[in-house]
Structures are given as C-alpha cells and as structure tokens.
Amino acid sequence: MDCAESDEERCQHALRYHQTGLLPTSLRTLAAGRFSGLQDIHRAELFAIVTVMERYCNTTIHTDSAATLSQLQLIADATEVTDFAMAPHFDLMIRLWKVWNMGTRVFHKVRAHAEHQTEGPLLQQYAQLGNKLANDSAIQACA
C-alpha cells in the first residue's frame, strides 16, 4: 500500500532505494495468494484486478502485463458482454464488466524487472519499485 503523501516523498524513496537497496516503506502488500480455477499468470493478473475493482471505485492500476491490458481494452470497447465472449477468463471479465463504470478506472503499463534502472523520472522508478514489491510478494505467496 502506497502510504506516501506526496510525489516529493516518492522521489526521495526512489533515490534512497538506489543508495541503500531498501524498498520504500510507503509501498505495502495489500493481499497475496492463490486464486480459484486453473492457475495461470494471465488469470492471476486479471484476478488481482477483479479483487481491486470489485472493492474500490476509483482505481489506478499499474501492471507489467500487456496481455492483461489488451483484455481490459476489450471490456472498455465492448457494448455488450458477448463482445468479449471469446476472450480467455470470460468469467473474470464478466465480473469486471459489472463494476467497470463504477467510479474512475485508470490503467498504466509499467516495465517489469526494471527496478535497477536509474534513468528516467524518479516517479517512474518509484512505480517500478512497486512492481518489484509485487513480484517479491507473489513469489513468497506461491512458495
């Protein structure tokens, strides 16, 4: 969970990570675990989005999965459920469809495994650290 109060603080956290190697304390794991159904990474990614979107209305989600974003684009473009009926994980997409218009939904693509890169804006580096924390937590949860 991002407890940072401002972008300034986030930038400082990113700088500190490159000096000390310590992940920002402002980023915290919200939930981790296996999901129901056949286990595969795209479903896991989509399931996490369902978990967030069903609980909260105003969300900005960062994912490193382009495949997931393309599935979400299908929902965004759809006028009815059958428009994405042939998509994989239709069951999860129906759940997303139901809550899609509740509040503001924003999605971003973030580079995976890029936490060591020191180029680019500090806020971007901070986002990559979020991705790293997510990755570490996933590995730990599935171990």
């Binding site: 919200l30 503001t104 986002a127």
Partner: protein, 819 residues
C-alpha cells in the same frame, strides 16, 4: 533444400508447405466438350453406309465420332436433313434411333466464342426485361428503409487506408494494369490523392470497366456450362468498391434482420447451418412437424437485373451517390475472355452483376432483405433465410408453402433471377407435410422434379431433416484430408512445419461441419493413424495417440473435434436468445448421448460430453468430475479447452492394447513436450518414435515371427524396452553419465524404462479440486476500511500488480493511461 524449408518455416509462415499439400491447381482451359443429340431414322445404303434423317443434322460435325446407342459411326457427309454414317458394328433393329456426338473444341478463339455465346444469354437480355414491372415498384413501397439517416462518410481517409490494406496483394491485375501490391506501397498522401480522384468520379469510364473474364473449369472434362467466369475488374474500381462497401457493410451488419446471413460479420455459413439444425432438432424434440424448401438460384450474380437491384438498394437506404456511380459504371461494363493467354474482343453487357465485386455483395444482401420482407408479408409463421444464392424457409404451417413459393417466384422474376430446380429440394421433419409440399411444387413448378431430402449438404454442412444423422459428404472431406496427409507424409518438412500444416491446413478441412453430426470413433482412429504417419513415417507398431499426444503444436483429431463442438455450442449459445438457450440446455440434459439419437447440435454436444465423462445440466451447469462444476457459458473458452485436454490425457492410456502400458499413470503432455523442445526437430522425431513404440524390440518381433530370437544380441537378456533403457550392459557407459537419474528411476519404481515420458501427478484430481475452490484472498479489515474511506472521497487509489499481488503507489507514470 534444408535452408529453403527453414526459410519457409521461419519467414514465410509455411506457405510453401501449405501449397504442397493442396490439390494440384486446375489446368488451363484447353478444351470444351459439347454434346449434341437427335432422334434419327436410319436408312441402309447399298455401299454399306447409313443415311440418318434427323431434325438438326447441321449440328453434327465431321471431326468427331457419332454414337448410335452404343455403336460408333464415322460421319462421312451431311446436308440440311441427314447425315451419312459409316457404322462400326451392329445397330439396333428399330426404325428410329437416338444418335449423339461429343464435340471437343480446342481452338482458343472457338473456346472463347462458345463461352461468350453461352454466357450471353445471362449477360445480355432483351431490353424489355431490363425494366421491372409496376408491381415491383409497389412492392418496394412497403420495404422499410433500414439505412435512413445513417451518417456515412465515404471520403474518410482512414477508411481508404484500411481498404488499401485489405486488398488482396496477390490478386490479378485488371485492365488498368495496377496491382494491389503497388497500391499498398503508396504513401498516405498518394492514397489521399487517388481517393479524391475516385470519389469525384460520376462513373468509371468505359475503358476502365473492361472486365477480364477467365473461365475456371468446375470438373475435369468440362462442358461449356461447367465453367465459372472469374471476373477481374480494374484495380481502381475495386478499391473504390472496397472502400464504399466497408462502410456500408458495417451499417448493414447492425440493421439487417437475422434471417439474412452470409457476407456479414458473425453471420457465416457455420453459424447459419448450426442455427438451422438446432431448429430442426427442437422440432424433433417437441414432435412438431416442420417443413421447408431450400432453393438454389442459377448463375446467381450473373442473372441479376441491375436496374431492379439499384431500386432495391435505394429502398434500403443506400446513398444515391453510391448507387449512381455503381449503376452507371456497370452500364459501361464489357467483358473480354482470357483463354490460353489470348483475349477476345470486349462484348457489351446489360444484365448481371460481376461476381467478386464487393458492391455485388451489397446488392445481393439488399435483394435478400427485400425477398425476406416480401415473403414475410405474404405469409404467417414462416421463417425465411437467405445466404447469398441459397434461399429457403421453414414453417410448421404447411399451408404457408404455396404463398411463400409464389412470392419467391415473383421476386425472382422481378430480378431476372432463375430458380435452379435441379439443385433445390424440399424437406420435412415428418411425413405428414409431404403430400401438401408436393402439391405446391406441382402447382408452382409443374415441369420440374423437386426431390425430398432426408439429409442434404447445405452451406458446407450436412443437415439432417428426418431419420438418422448421416456423415454424407463429410466422408469426402475426411477422404480429402487423408489425401493431404499422405502428401504431407512424403514431404521432408521439419516437424514444426508438419505440425502447423496439420493444425491449420488439414484439421479444418477434415472436421468442418462435424458439430452437427456425430462422428464415429473409427473415423477419428483412422485419421489419427494417418496424422501420426504423416508426422513420423509409416509404422505398424507405433501408438498414434501417444505419438500425437507428445508432439508439440499438434493435437489429437479426437480432441480437436471435441474442442470444436464445445466452441461451436458456446458461440451459438452466447448469441442465442434466453429461450433458445433454455431449449438447448434442456435438450442436452435429456439426451442419452447415443449417436443414433443425435438430431442436431445439442445431441452432438452430449455425444462428445459423454466421451469426456462430463455432464451438462438443464441450467447450463457443466460438471467435469464429482467435485468441480461451473456455468458452461461463464467459463472462458481457453479454460474449457484446457480442461478438455486434461480429460483426454486421462483417457489416452486406454487406447493401447500393449500389456506393458496398462495401468500406467497418464502422460503429462505439457511437461513431456517441454523436455522434448530441448532437442532439435530431427531428434524429436526419433525420440517420439521411441516413446510411441515405433521401434520394435526383439521380444515383440518374436511374438509374430518364430525365427527371431527374443534375446538381446549384446548381452543375452530378454530384449524388452525396459531392458534397453535400464539394464543392457552394452549401453552401460551411456547411463553412467546420468547415474543419479537412473538411480531415482530404480528407487521410485518409475515406469520411465517402459515409457520414457513425464507422468501426471498421482494427486492431480485433488490438486485441481483444491485450486478450483481456492478461497479469494482477504484484505485485512482495518486496511480495507481505510482504503474505502479514501475511495469514498473520490481520490484515485493506485495499485500495482504482479500475478496475484496488490500494492498501492503513485499515479504519474511513463505510459499514457486508458480509461
């Protein structure tokens, strides 16, 4: 050669490999057969010849043999009323005889002349027939205008760029000499310029409307009517037509009634036949008598009156600009035949639409719409359906056939279209309607015989109207697939290329339409053996099911068929109405699963679900084992297909009679293939042959041939697969490198010596069940409440994901968001 194959596989999408398995392309047009016949009175002459007096003596030619019944004769001389023949054999002792002659025309100019004479009857009609009668205009007054007030921007540059992109780069050049590939290489500015020129044309000039017409034979030794005239129009016209049609089709697909199928997205032939067979199945299930007609329109596009179709297009709401440019351009249309590299002089036409022109598709769709509307106005409780030149209807009220047939004939007359009674049929789910149906035909088409069909091939699928489902012409498809497999078997393509060709070039040919008919196991067994032989060469001892199961990128035909059946059912149900869904699920749940009771797609689905050991309830709940069940329509298709694969995996070891393999756990396809991918293509072939038992041991050979010693020639032990893998002293030094692995095999009691694959986990079913019912992860209550409080303020919450982990962090990032 190897480099060429590699290039084909890596850079050209196996195009060469695909081309090599297809049927050899039709040879050029070198001859036209033409049969003439007459009834003659034969008068013997003193010199031994015969004079045959007949009505049309001039049609016989001297260069071909004349047949008098079965006896041959040479034509020596002819005049207006008789031909003189030298007979080679005995002729029947009767006053009158039937004589016939097959004339073969080979000169290209004569061929072109014959073709022009034949097709001219459709392309140039009497001027009186060009204008439709008054009643046609009255009929159009009642036609609802479905495209009224629809905004359409035919000058939209994006549509034109897309149209250029969609042109077939390999299509032939038209009279303007421009190829599609050339247009595709143009920059956007040049396309814009071309668009402006074309969009401002009032009509395409005469020189650009010269249609190159190439005859393509439908059979081996074609008669003049057995050629299909392929029309190649100027590329510029094709581009204009494509760009305009793309916009129109998009609008029409939203507005056209469901009865109009074909040419529209999501309304392909497979959807149309699936729906029709479902309706038939429901009629059988409810014991309702349903009957109908399936009519074929002769030379469809070539006979359509341009004026009439333009009037219909106007009635439907197609913009006047499009109709004017199209109609005036067609009025300039002339045709030139191309045979053996020669071209005939352009001949003018005043009737018919060029086949292959996208605008002809729009015309056909609007005609179908007008026909459906007209028929529905003349009848009640009748369901018409139109797929291009295939029109038909079904009803439970037998009295409605007469007005429907009458309305159809009227419509055909308005448009100069001809109903091909020879290719049409009538059908009924019960005999009760038959006498009335035949009476209707006798009244409306007194000189024609329209057969009743119990089962017929329509739109590429075998429809069953009455009686047991039959494979019918689907057998031909299986045969064609087998021929392709045999061809593939002789090619030295690498394994991945062969796998790709089988998946994309052979299975679709073999299995199309099998969603409507139950296909017996023996057909799939034969196909499986042929697939394995094509991949790995011929072997009498190899287990084809195991070989294919462990092959990367190709699946067993039985699995592919089951997956196709599930996919088709899901596709149909997702588009169906709630009532249709309920009916479908009810039929599946009540069906016994026996092949002889299958009357349609629901029965066929049950037939295949039974093979998988799955149950589908009347609420649409699919149970795949004692513990796992889920709504059939809510589950994603890939998950369903994956579960189908897992079920096949369980079943596969039952397909072997080999004692050594009995009782072994299932082979894990995923893991085994992962290991095999470490090897190159040639090594994979050898390994898979070994896995599937293609190489016989001496012990195996000795059971068939008593002269063979069953012992190992190297160490004297009994030569078995286990012996070769685990204990033969001659191979000891090879095993030494992997001592740990062999020790594990010995200690764990693994069957890898018998079958060198990765086996499934013994608790796989338990794992699946546990995973299926995994509880959703909880978010700590306190944290959840805090986040919810922020959420209620309207501030955006930021999360990051990796598999199944959620964290919160900042919003401003490198890529633009979408909402």
């Amino acid at each position: 050669m190897a480099y060429r194959q590699q290039l084909d596989y890596k850079c050209q999408g196996n195009a060469r490999a695909f081309a090599r398995i297809r049927d050899p392309s039709q040879s050029g047009v070198y001859e036209i057969r033409h049969q003439v016949s007459d009834t003659a009175i034969l008068v013997p002459q003193e010199d031994g010849n015969m004079i045959a007096y007949c009505q049309h003596a001039s049609q016989f030619r001297q260069e071909a043999i004349v047949h008098i019944h079965e006896t041959t004769a040479t034509l020596i001389d002819k005049d207006c009323h008789s031909i003189t023949l030298r007979v080679h054999g005995q002729i029947p002792d009767s006053e009158q005889c039937d004589i016939h002659q097959t004339v073969v025309t080979t000169h290209p100019c004569e061929i072109m002349q014959n073709l022009q004479e034949y097709w001219n009857q459709y392309w140039t009609v009497d001027p009186d027939r060009l204008q439709p009668p008054r009643s046609f205009r009255d009929m159009l007054c009642n036609l609802p205008c479905i495209l009224q007030d629809q905004p359409m921007d035919f000058a939209d540059p994006k549509e034109w760029y897309q149209a250029v992109k969609m042109l077939n780069a390999k299509s032939a050049k038209g009279i303007d000499g421009i190829s599609a590939a050339e247009l595709q290489s143009l920059p956007c500015q040049a396309i814009d310029h071309l668009r402006e020129i074309l969009i401002n044309l009032q009509c395409f000039p005469s020189w650009m409307m010269i249609a190159k017409t190439t005859p393509v034979p439908k059979v081996d030794q074609p008669h003049v009517h057995e050629y299909r005239p392929i029309t190649v129009l100027a590329q510029c016209y094709r581009l204009w037509s494509k760009a305009v049609t793309r916009i129109l089709l998009r609008k029409l697909s939203l507005k056209m009634p469901a009865e109009v199928t074909g040419f529209l997205p999501g309304r392909g032939p497979a959807d149309a036949t699936y729906h029709q067979q479902f309706m038939l199945e429901w009629a059988h299930a409810t014991q309702t008598c349903q009957s109908g007609f399936a009519l074929d329109l002769k030379r469809c596009f070539n006979t359509i009156s341009r004026q009439s179709s333009a009037m219909i297009m106007r009635g439907v709401g197609i913009p006047e600009y499009v109709i004017q440019v199209w109609l005036q351009s067609l009025n300039h249309l002339t045709r030139t035949w191309t045979v053996q590299g020669l071209s005939s002089s352009p001949c003018s036409t005043n009737n018919g639409l060029p086949e292959g022109d996208p605008m002809s598709v729009i015309a056909m769709l609007t005609i179908a719409y007008a026909w459906i509307h007209h028929v529905q106005r003349q009848t009640r409780n009748l369901s018409p359906s139109a797929f291009a030149d295939n029109w038909g209807w079904s009803t439970t009220e037998v009295s409605q056939h007469a007005p429907a047939l009458q309305a159809t004939k009227t419509m055909a007359d308005y448009l100069n279209m001809i109903i091909d009674w020879k290719k049409s049929w009538l059908w009924s789910t019960h005999k009760a309607h038959l006498p009335s149906l035949k009476r209707v035909v006798k009244k409306e088409a007194p000189n024609e015989h329209v057969p009743e069909m119990l089962s017929a091939m329509d739109l590429g699928a075998q429809l069953t109207y009455r009686g047991n489902a039959r494979l019918g012409k689907l057998r031909d498809r299986l045969h064609k697939a087998r021929i392709r497999l045999q061809r593939l078997g002789t090619h030295k393509e690498p394994l991945p290329s062969k796998a790709r060709v089988i998946t994309a070039g052979i299975y679709p040919v073999a299995l199309y339409g099998m969603e409507l008919v139950p296909v017996g196991t023996q057909h799939m067994d034969t196909l499986r053996t042929e697939v394995a032989s094509a991949l790995y060469g011929h072997s009498i001892s190899r287990n084809s099911a195991i070989a294919i199961h462990c092959t990367p990128a190709v699946q067993d035909p039985q699995v592919v068929l089951q997956q196709r059946v599930i996919t088709a059912a899901r596709r149909f149900l997702l588009r169906a109405t709630a009532t249709q869904r309920t009916r479908f699920f009810m039929m599946v749940s009540k069906h016994s699963g026996a092949a002889h009771e299958c009357k349609g797609p629901a029965g066929v689905l049950k037939y295949h679900l039974c093979k998988l050991g799955w149950q589908l309830g009347k609420q649409g709940q699919l149970s795949i084992n004692g513990f796992v069940s889920f709504p059939f329509l809510d589950m994603g298709l890939p998950t369903l297909l994956k579960l189908c694969n897992l079920q096949w995996q369980e079943h596969i070891m039952t397909l072997t009679d080999r004692k050594g393999l009995k009782g072994l756990p299932p082979i894990c396809r995923l893991s085994t293939i992962q290991v095999l991918r470490k090897y190159n293509s040639a090594q994979q072939v050898k390994l898979l042959n070994e896995i599937a038992g293609a190489f016989q041991t001496r012990a195996q050979q000795a059971t068939w041939d008593s002269q063979i010693d069953p012992h190992c020639p190297h160490c004297g032990e009994l030569d078995t697969r286990e012996h070769r893998a685990l204990s033969c002293m001659a191979l000891h030094d090879l095993r030494e490198k992997y001592a740990e692995a062999f020790q594990w095999i010995e200690e764990s009691g693994s069957a890898m010596g018998q079958l060198p694959v990765v086996f499934c986990h013994p608790y796989r079913e338990c794992h699946l069940t546990v995973q299926w019912y995994n509880a959703e992860p909880d978010i700590e209550q306190e944290m959840h409440s805090r986040i919810q409080a922020i959420d209620h303020t309207g501030r955006s919450l930021v999360f990051s994901l990796m598999d199944h982990v959620i964290t919160r962090h900042c919003p401003s990032l490198d890529t633009p968001p979408f909402q």
